[in-house]
């Protein structure tokens, strides 16, 4: 039994489905072009949305050298460790390639920033960025990785904006991946029954529940009992 079906039978015991719909083409004749979405991206899309994703996946924005440079940057921003995966283990460069097509406003900053990076590498070390030693790469990044927080972001030099954007995309790409979510410790997105903050967490943060407030809250042992009220709106069940 798949997760969705078991969820339904546990929580619902039969759901309204296959209802008769009349009138003018209530449902598109063909399912919204499932084939254009890879199984990896299988989520509810309108046909137009699915087409757009397929188009974006088809297009190529960064050339091979740019992709190589992005990969080196991703590796420096979030390297793997003995225990933990890094940005390169979860295809962050591919994600960045998608985003730069999805949000074209990023293009000048990223492409221009990559050019700046090689220019600077050549001037300082007489080599392109990806061919520098790790030490040299870090030496260069140290000049652009620490923005002046007193200055609004849009007024900062392009190379600073570029690195901030690279860092943002790398981290968001990592922490929205399966491995990143696991590392973060996010525990939700699954059926459960919320029954309040665990006692040890309350203690750690020095707060507690009011008895009066708790008395109003749902008694989860009776969630499956049908609600009934008296005429004054007092819940009886």
């Amino acid at each position: 039994m798949d997760r969705r079906k078991s969820l339904k039978s546990i929580l619902l015991g039969g759901v309204a489905s296959g209802l008769a719909v009349h009138g003018c083409n209530p449902k598109p004749e063909s399912a919204p072009e499932e084939s254009v979405l890879t199984p990896k991206y299988n989520y509810g899309r309108t046909p137009k949305e699915a087409e757009l994703i397929a188009e974006l996946l088809e297009e190529t924005f960064f050339n091979a050298h740019e992709m190589e440079t992005i990969a080196v940057l991703c590796g420096l921003i979030l390297p793997s460790t003995e225990e933990l995966k890094g940005a390169l283990d979860v295809q962050v460069p591919e994600f960045i390639e998608f985003m730069v097509k999805d949000i074209p406003e990023y293009q000048p900053t990223l492409r221009g920033g990559l050019m700046w990076l090689d220019h600077k590498s050549n001037s300082d070390f007489n080599n392109q960025f990806i061919s520098l030693t790790g030490e040299q790469q870090k030496q260069l990044l140290d000049t652009i990785a620490y923005p002046n927080m007193d200055m609004p972001e849009i007024e900062r030099p392009l190379e600073i904006q570029f690195f901030s954007l690279m860092r943002n995309l790398t981290l968001t790409g990592y922490y929205t991946s399966k491995e990143g979510i696991e590392e973060l410790g996010y525990k939700g997105n699954s059926p459960n029954v919320w029954d309040g903050v665990p006692q040890d967490v309350l203690e750690q943060h020095g707060v507690s529940y009011d008895e009066e407030w708790l008395a109003k809250c749902v008694d989860q042992s009776k969630r499956a009992v049908k609600a009934e009220w008296d005429d004054a709106g007092n819940l009886l069940t």
């Binding site: 759901v15 449902k27 399912a31 990896k40 996010y186 029954v193 919320w194 309350l202 749902v218 009220w229």
Partner: protein, 572 residues
């Protein structure tokens, strides 16, 4: 091209399938009437796996949930937004109204916040208190029985607190507060801002055999596959069909106008079938508009005839006038005591477990009307944007911001769950000049003349929002936190959001006893055509510091009962 006319005549044609249209569909079809529902978007059922986004992971979207296409993120269940390709609108010079539309069965009810607040007695009679705007021709006592019925039919959690203007109801028990909500309660109370369990339409407890009970994934904005939250399709239209109602759904059908006869009464509607792009006519004895406040106004204004040269229902020239949205502003805070959190599943319901209804008396304030406070925070599921500026909060500790390498992991974890936000949603005073009208220079891709908006906030709203911002700042401090970013100042009108951004637009076909100053009577029946009704938020005279949906539902039910009764008496 010839217009194609259907031979069947319906008892009722309902335009739109959101909250108002769904309720009318249920009540009218269950009374035995033959009903056609005409919806501009496609069929949608939250239980259909092909269209489902609930319980998906961010990596199941190539953009990881970014809001590039859907304004509330890639997993949100609204097909549409403030901008829809092929369906433009315009604004008069120097004004900026944003019009959100969701084109799908169930409309915006598939993704909305489910904040389900009754209006209170004062909300129907605000002019009596501050002399501004107009009173409704009906009062709380007229709507109360319907609010009660809506509570029981649809299900809403909350608590009976005996508050004077936030009435008690028939509530399901609320969920326990989350950690950041306990901090909010503490901070708000220090500021003498009361906090109560929120009132939202998710089933924390079973109400019938057809719908599931909430399983706390926190994703109501994605529409619930077990129907544990309120969406018009899952809670009204499908049950109406299942109960044997004669309901024909016309989806992807964009209504152009209401057709009328020599006597000026409605004979049905004409619509464009989006799939073949041809115009059709449907015949009906009664037309119920539920297309949303601005869409219904647009349909009426486009329904010009010899009998209604200024548009149907518009002899008063009031259709489209008095458009008003909630006021809104937001502020975020960083609460150091919420750092370094142990993680556990605190998704809860899709939205806040606690809120603050309006708590002050306006006599002592420099603005009329009030607002309620919504709040957010917690250990949410990462989505596009998570991890951006991973250690900006270092600045509160005098630490360096930026960098790269594995230290960033520690920063991300340290600050996870330590940021909270507050949002105020308040009542604006309806202004006649704030309006939508037809823009004669443009049509949409279906050839239908589009709307032009003209909307400006007044000092009332700007002063109210300043009060919101000051209150939020004080509460954040009382939570032991820091305001993130600069609080908006006078030159930015204290951060008031553009009208339309709160998506509570109401008032365009307002209700009244005088046909010279209103569009519909107290039964939401056009003064100018007795077989046309409006059951969305168009008839609202004022919008209260409450979200409009619960009142749309109650009034739609009340109007539907009236239609059934009038048909029995052969008055329409």
């Amino acid at each position: 091209m010839q217009i194609i006319e259907e031979s069947k005549t319906y008892d009722v044609i309902i335009v739109g399938s959101g909250a108002g249209g769904g309720m009318a569909t249920k009540i009218l079809s269950e009374a035995g009437l033959k009903v056609a529902v005409v919806e501009a978007g496609p069929f949608f059922d939250p239980a259909d796996p092909e269209q489902m986004t609930q319980l998906k992971w961010p990596y199941e979207s190539p953009r990881r949930g970014a809001s590039t296409i859907r304004p509330f993120g890639d997993f949100d269940t609204a097909y549409g937004g403030w901008e829809i390709e092929g369906e433009p609108y315009t604004n008069t010079d120097n004004t900026d109204f944003k019009w959100f539309r969701s084109r799908m069965l169930g409309g915006r009810t598939n993704h909305w916040g489910r904040i389900s607040l009754r209006f209170g007695p004062k909300d129907f009679k605000r002019k009596n208190y501050d002399g501004l705007g107009d009173n409704w021709p009906i009062g709380y006592e007229d709507v109360k029985p319907y609010y009660d019925k809506v509570d029981k039919l649809i299900g809403v959690f909350g608590t009976n607190e005996g508050l004077p203007n936030d009435p008690d109801g028939f509530f399901l028990p609320p969920p326990k507060p989350r950690l950041h909500e306990l901090f909010y309660i503490k901070g708000a109370r220090k500021s003498n801002v009361p906090v109560y369990p929120s009132r939202m339409s998710m089933l924390t407890k079973k109400i019938n055999d057809e719908r599931g009970v909430c399983f706390y994934c926190g994703q109501c904005s994605r529409a619930c596959q077990v129907y544990a939250d309120f969406s018009s399709g899952s809670c009204l239209i499908f049950p109406a069909q299942k109960n044997g109602g004669q309901v024909d759904l016309f989806v992807n059908c964009m209504v152009r106008e209401v057709t009328t006869n020599e006597e000026g009464e409605a004979t049905g509607v004409s619509y464009i079938n989006k799939e073949d792009r041809r115009e059709y006519k449907l015949k009906g004895k009664i037309v119920v508009l539920a297309a949303s406040a601005c869409s219904s106004a647009r349909i009426l204004l486009n329904s010009k005839s010899k009998q209604h040269p200024n548009g149907l229902g518009n002899s008063s020239d009031i259709v489209g006038k008095y458009l008003h949205d909630s006021t809104g502003s937001n502020l975020m805070g960083f609460v150091p005591e919420l750092m370094n959190r142990k993680t556990y599943n605190e998704d809860g319901v899709g939205g806040m477990h606690v809120y603050s209804p309006w708590w002050l008396e306006n006599e002592k304030l420099d603005f009329p009307r009030g607002y309620h406070i919504e709040m957010w925070g917690g250990l949410g599921m990462p989505s596009y944007g998570f991890g951006f500026n991973p250690n900006d909060l270092n600045k509160y500790f005098g630490l360096k911001v930026g960098g790269y390498g594995n230290d960033l992991r520690k920063d991300v974890k340290k600050y996870y769950g330590s940021v909270i936000g507050m949002a105020g949603r308040g009542e604006s005073v309806a202004q006649k000049e704030n309006s939508c009208e037809l823009d004669p220079t443009k049509v949409d891709e279906f050839g239908i003349p589009i709307l032009k908006f003209n909307y400006q906030w007044t000092d009332h709203e700007i002063k109210q929002v300043k009060h919101m911002q000051d209150t939020f700042e004080e509460i954040i401090h009382n939570m032991g936190g820091h305001v993130i970013g600069e609080k908006a100042g006078k030159e930015q009108n204290y951060g008031i959001l553009a009208p339309g951004e709160i998506i509570h637009e109401v008032g365009t076909t307002r209700m009244g006893d005088d046909k010279k100053t209103s569009v519909v009577n107290s039964h939401q029946q056009l003064h100018d055509a007795k077989n046309v009704f409006v059951v969305d938020a168009g008839p609202f005279v004022s919008q209260a510091d409450k979200n409009p949906t619960w009142t749309i539902l109650a009034l739609s039910w009340r109007t539907s009962d009236y239609i059934v009764e009038q048909l029995k008496q052969q008055n329409i």
